[in-house]
Amino acid sequence: MKKLEIIENIKVRSEKELLAFSEKPKRIYFTIEKSALSKIAKYLFREVKARFITASGVDTRSNIEILYHFSVDEAGLVVSLRVILEKDNLEIESLTPIILCTEWIEREIHELLGVNFKGHPNLKHLLLKDDWPEGNYPLRRDQ
């Protein structure tokens, strides 16, 4: 599937929920509302048959940003979906019911940044030990 086609489809599907868009050769970044994440991720994983690479959570001091990276291998593209979360409402829909392999990375972001993934089947610690003090998030900058 061509790059332009993917960009066009994501734009159509997200409509007003698309907040920003930028591109570099072979790299596309979309900033979307968190309500649109599931349907865009579903489109990329199920229809485009993109491979889920990983997600990266960032504390930008004002917000927490999560980037979901997908690889469209036949076009050599990396499509990144950026979702911005308010610090007083760190909750987002889990992608694990749609994409099996997001299980680990959501657990990782949960324990390192304190994001709650709604609907995750098993949101326990991944890297940190089980008795890690609650409310301590190693990758947060405000602690």
Binding site: K24, K49, R51, I53, D73, E74, E103, L127
Partner: protein, 390 residues
Amino acid sequence: MSKKVIPIGPYHPLQEEPEFFTLYVDGETVTDIDIEIGYNHRAIEKIAESKSYDQVTFLVERICGICSTSHPFAYSNAIDNLLEIEVPERALYIRTIIGELERIHSHLLWLGLAGHFLGYNTVWMWAWRYREPILDIFERISGNRNHYAMFKPGGVRRDLDEADFPWIKKTLKGLIPKFDMFKGAVIDDPVIRARTEGIGILTKQDVHDYSVVGPTARASGVAIDIRRDDPYAAYDRVDWKVITAEGGGVFAKAIVRILELYESTNIVLQCLDKIPKGPIETNIKDMPVGEGIGRHEAPRGEVFHYIMSDGGNGPARHKVRAPSYVNIASNKKAVIGETVSDATIILAAVDPCYCCTERMAVVDAKSGTKLMDGQDLIRLSQEKTARMKK
């Protein structure tokens, strides 16, 4: 029959991912598996935020002791992508040569250990012996047998000496007959074939579901390879092909790795012939605000680095995704329903670290008494092969 729990792990300090597998077995059959990682979490991503861009190159080189160049390779690609700079041609060829030599010694290491687990200790000894010349090449090029410190954003740190080329070519060509020997020992041996074909299978759908990468995906007939799909370094300037196999079992994974030995040798030889003269780095003056993504096809699959810059001296956020992070998770699919004597080789087939499997122990879930340890499990695996030989 009472259910038994087999804990595998947890500690081993050698590779980037110490893992802890808990196998639930019913008699001989594995009924469930629980995978835990994080026993030796070193917080590399957090440390990277306090280092300068130059220092991070050395930091990420220490993520893995076997494929030590994979992470600097992907990291340099990420910074080059962030800055959108042109890396000099000569540096691109040098990067390719280092990356491919590393694949050869990493695959040999896997083959040796796989041989050992199956009771083929000759293959194990061969692999160690013929891995040595590759390390000698690295020593001549970089002064180091591992942790070569050759990479930097914008280019490479050291130039290659043209006077070494004839010796490097001779050494590599001398290895090809040895690879034939491996091919013969593994592909043509009916016992290894019977022992490994059809166990630990990942279907094409599993490859997509678990998003596995590298030889683990290619052994299921899924032709994905970052070197071809998203070309970087000099991979689009040389002639090579992506190796795939059908079946998705342990045997197919071995075939992919053995055939990749030839491709990698071929790539290095072509690079040594084609490498142009010129500068080896682009000078980077300052870092703008922005983000970059770099990928590299490491011996185990795609390594992914994401860098976010706030214009400061070092990365504001550095995300690293090693291939084993997704490959190990797929063991959940591959190992359930198989027997304990096959579990050792299946869990090893994605090429994670082996110290874990060495530390396997069978414990009675009720009484907690130790019934078998790692040595026993390897023995179990070797005995099965010996039985099939008869």
